[in-house]
Symmetry: C2
Subunit: 464 residues, 2 copies
């Protein structure tokens, strides 16, 4: 027996969203619980079909952007943050979304080439451990020539030059005895990589041993490149005691800067990776280190410390009748009615409070006192005189309504908005431990209406 009539499929075929309007808080905005991220208006059956796609698209995107912003917050503004998560992300699309939203949340670049191409995110990465171990010796390098950076000269045997530099480093006074024979397959891999990408020589130095092989080999190649006008990018540490190794590597670079009078060589970039997360970065910062850049994968893109965000979709009004979902758990009670949402800013430029009003209430005005009430707690109320009022929900899909549609910003602009929003939050709202909760309120009129409904609609036994 068929489970539905053919007419239903005809109906589905003919559906469009011309009767639907979608309002949303602009992507990249800082948002708070209870304030709707989107308001969708339209025929109930069509809007119900949008529920799952919208909730799916909003939940993970918001979660991973927040996670990226938290990593940025703990790493500080000066560090370079690279998203390295593709191989651990939850499916291919999870990986693409992760790269996009981590960039939005404040990361500088991704190793996900597809995301770079799709969204214009800067790309950054190193070679793999397998690249290093695929070499056996320097004899494997066939083409040994390197044109100088400015094109004025050619190094005919870059391999020999690298070996010469390795010996010079070994004989420097300040590094005497610091290392013995370095691993030759690693040296071959670095040399080969530098010949292919002399402008972007970033070497993974932990395949064998960081201080007795990886760093000396890197420096030999970097100094050979330097002779022909190229500046090596840096090293990546991917195992071991990252703080200690970064400090030792920094000393090594500093000694060579001094010894060979190569300006800035001591500042060669040190990137670290290997299961980093908010906590490990915080711990590294506390103990002191010399890393300039962090490559973060698993914990970032899978949002390991909280793998899901629980945004939901609620019916708040139908045929001009308000609807309200009651629950014994007050955090699950929905705020009824088609609403408008505003952010009110204070004298210092910080946002003070978000306020929701009925759709037909007047807009809060700059310089005019307005009562902001906690939606459910009678005693929590405050008068606010905003210095600036921002309407949060903007029309991104007007359907046939004729409402003006907001332009969709570029990813770069959204990222800038996100950075700017985070910057303008009052610091006590942003601290990691015991932050001051940001206030979310309703207008006096909406408060009264909620509580009128509550008293009149709650079935017996519902609220205890």
């Amino acid at each position: 027996m068929p489970t539905c009539e053919d007419g239903f499929f005809d109906y589905l075929r003919a559906i469009d969203c011309s009767d639907v309007e979608v309002y949303a808080i602009s992507e990249g905005s800082v948002v708070f619980p209870k304030v709707p991220l989107m308001r969708i208006e339209g025929p109930v059956a069509v809007v119900q079909l949008l529920e799952t796609p919208f909730v799916n698209l909003v939940n993970y995107a918001s979660l991973v952007t927040t996670n990226a912003a938290r990593h940025r917050f703990v790493a500080g503004k000066e560090k370079s943050l690279l998203e390295f998560g593709l191989r651990r992300a939850q499916g291919p699309d999870g990986g693409i979304s992760a790269s996009r939203y981590c960039y939005m949340g404040g990361f500088d670049a991704t190793s996900n080439v597809a995301a770079g191409r799709l969204f214009g995110i800067p790309l950054r990465g190193t070679h793999s451990h397998a690249f290093v171990s695929s070499f056996m010796s320097l004899d494997e390098i066939v083409d040994k020539t390197l044109q100088s950076y400015d094109g004025s000269s050619t190094c005919e045997d870059f391999v020999s030059l690298v070996q010469t530099w390795l010996n010079r480093i070994k004989r420097t006074n300040s590094l005497r005895g610091a290392f013995g024979e370095t691993n030759q397959s690693e040296l071959a891999a670095f040399t080969s990589y530098a010949l292919a990408l002399p402008n972007n020589f970033l070497a993974l130095v932990d395949t064998y041993d960081v201080m007795s092989s990886g760093v000396p080999n890197f420096c030999a190649v970097a100094l050979a490149l330097n002779e022909f006008g190229y500046k090596a990018t840096g090293i990546r540490l991917d195992s071991g005691d990252l703080a200690y190794l970064s400090i030792e590597a920094r000393k090594f670079f500093g000694a060579l800067e001094k010894e060979f009078a190569i300006p800035e060589f001591g500042k060669t970039i040190i990137t670290a990776s290997n299961d980093l997360n908010e906590e490990t970065i915080d711990a590294l910062n506390k103990q002191g280190h010399e890393m300039d850049s962090f490559g973060i994968g698993t914990y970032l893109v899978t949002c390991y410390s909280q793998a899901a965000l629980g945004c939901v979709f609620k019916l708040v009004e139908i045929n001009n009748q308000p609807r309200m979902k009651l629950s014994e758990d007050v955090t699950k009670v929905s705020i009824p009615c088609k609403k408008r949402c505003y952010r009110l800013y204070g004298r210092e430029g910080y946002p003070l409070v978000d306020i929701m009003t009925g759709a037909n209430e007047p807009t809060p005005k700059v310089g005019e006192r307005i009562l902001c009430r906690h939606p459910f707690n009678e005693s929590k109320r405050a008068y606010v005189v905003p210095q600036h009022v921002e309407e949060l929900l903007k029309c991104y899909w007007p359907g046939d309504s004729g409402v003006k549609r907001e332009e969709l910003p570029t990813l770069k602009n959204t990222r800038d908005r996100c950075m700017q929003h985070l910057e303008h939050m009052r610091p006590d709202h942003m601290r990691r431990l015991n932050p001051t909760p940001y206030k979310v309120s309703v207008s006096a009129k909406l408060y009264d209406f909620i509580h009128f409904l509550w008293l009149n609609e709650a079935p017996v036994g519902e609220l205890q």
Copy 2:
């Protein structure tokens, strides 16, 4: 300055996988750490391009299948398990992958309609809370007619019939005083839903109050349907004390079965949802409940208790030279060489041990004693006489090699394999607390070779 030559793009354009061979353990198999899930052979540059896609595709798929199997294990074989995760999954593709691999791991159905269509997974779900609250009263129902199941008669006013049944239920001796006025918008929603889908009436009963509204309203509609030959599917509980509510609902159904002599009505299906996971299901089982079916979302699809799996891609051999990644952490040491992998079964039909050998070693033979050694621990070794030998890595992409390619099974067959594999594991390997580790070994020859390499290749200071 360009970062690479045009020739590189020409090279990429011309690449194909005709020189690549991919061997893999069949999807749906139970696998253990150290045994390679795939063996990829081919030109190193091409194979390196496959690294990230393969690792991305294998990691999450294996993780969520395992998570589904763990949920099945704790729920038991008799319960129906429904995957309800799309809205919380990590991106749209995360959701599709989740539905596919949860089915493979032992779930019975999904609420993800797209996954149902793509992969033929059975679909199951209920209406939403919003559907219930979108109704105001029974007056909204325009078409009140219902044809009987066998087509022999028509109910002209199904709405009145439902109201009649609600009154009958209220007056039954055993339920006298159990409930008062039920919520009319809920009753309207249930009635409307039953008129549209009389063969699949599964009602979400917790929008208002489960025992004083949802369950009586459901029963009124179910008994009205019963009069015209339809069997109601059941109820879903999505909040509150699930164990208690399921027991109370079961009693209610039982009382009506007796009162109105409706066979099986007491066995009406009770489905529960609301942030369920392995632990909550285990706790529910321990305290006792009357649920037949669990709908599981967030914790299942995001693998909340461990959001990432750390499979990696290692170079083990190049130009017939073995390669081995050493590490201070012995669990990160890779096993070198192109290998073959076998599962050895004992007399009772259980797998005893997995063994890896060099690619050119003879295959272990049924009835012949073979020495299985722990790859790194000299003292751990055992002789095994297998009753059955299964080669694990099979060719799924032969390239131009002429090797016979395995057929790709259907999802249903893969699911059957997975169920059968899990069934045939020795129970002590499968218990949730302190399971006996399953043994993974290498041949004596491979053991000697690993340790020869280790001694000869480890740079000074590498192994401590």
